[in-house]
């Protein structure tokens, strides 16, 4: 595994949890973004993710470097899966270890926000009656752009 990677196969949580753990870590936070069946009353059949792989991995590593600078002592791994994902599949996983828990929570949440801003990955939602690439231009009534 690489600590910042795009993969095309199912994401194994344990592998990334093990990677960030070390004798100085008192806290580990793991976030997974999973494919949800219902969004705003519309049923998703599956999702298709696409990435500009080399740039996406570079941007994930940059986010990791930002985290290490802002929260000294954290160790980070981020992986995003592409291709077709079924309901409950993990699309993205962020693992953070830290000597203390506060940084592990904060840094982890920072990572997902940054991923949604800068990493060249795109999601297409496929429903029973259609499909659409999701992006910032698309807003559901009364909602932000966040999907998980």
């Amino acid at each position: 595994m690489k600590p910042f990677e795009i993969v095309e196969t199912p994401i194994d949580t344990q592998k990334y949890a093990d990677y960030v753990l070390h004798a100085g870590a008192g806290a580990v936070t793991i976030f997974t973004g999973n494919v949800r069946e219902w969004t705003h009353g519309v049923r998703t059949l599956y999702l298709a993710y696409e990435a500009y792989i080399p740039m996406a991995e570079k941007k994930l590593a940059e986010i990791g470097a930002e985290m290490e600078e802002r929260w000294p002592g954290v160790k980070v791994a981020i992986v995003h899966r592409i291709g077709e994902l079924d309901i409950s599949d993990i699309a993205v996983l962020i693992a953070v270890s830290s000597p203390h828990r506060k940084a592990a929570y904060e840094a982890n949440e920072y990572a997902i926000e940054r991923i949604k801003e800068v990493v060249p990955i795109w999601k297409k939602e496929i429903w029973e009656d259609g499909e659409e690439w999701i992006g910032a231009q698309k807003r559901y009534p009364g909602e932000g752009k966040s999907s998980n």
Binding site: A91, V92, I112, K116, E117, W122, W133, G135, Q137
Partner: protein
């Protein structure tokens, strides 16, 4: 020769993942204008351009040999 990548909606709109443009040099804005003209509905106002895997500004200059990518609004996570 400038290589450009298309992703997601743009890949479907253009019907291609990449192509090579026969130009020696042009600005990011010029590349976007060219794409909008070539592919109606491209939506250049919402699209960033990456040059050699880094986000570029509208007046940055692209040189022959550079690898570009059109980056529509991202939706990872």
């Amino acid at each position: 020769m400038i290589k450009v990548h298309y992703f997601a909606r743009l890949r479907e709109l253009t019907g291609k993942s990449e192509e090579t443009i026969n130009q020696e040099s042009l600005t990011v804005q010029q590349l976007l204008d060219w794409a909008e003209e070539t592919y109606p509905g491209f939506g250049k106002d919402m699209i960033h351009v990456a040059v050699n895997e880094e986000y570029a500004l509208k007046d940055d200059v692209i040189q022959s040999g550079d690898v570009c990518a059109f980056i529509p609004p991202v939706s990872g996570g």
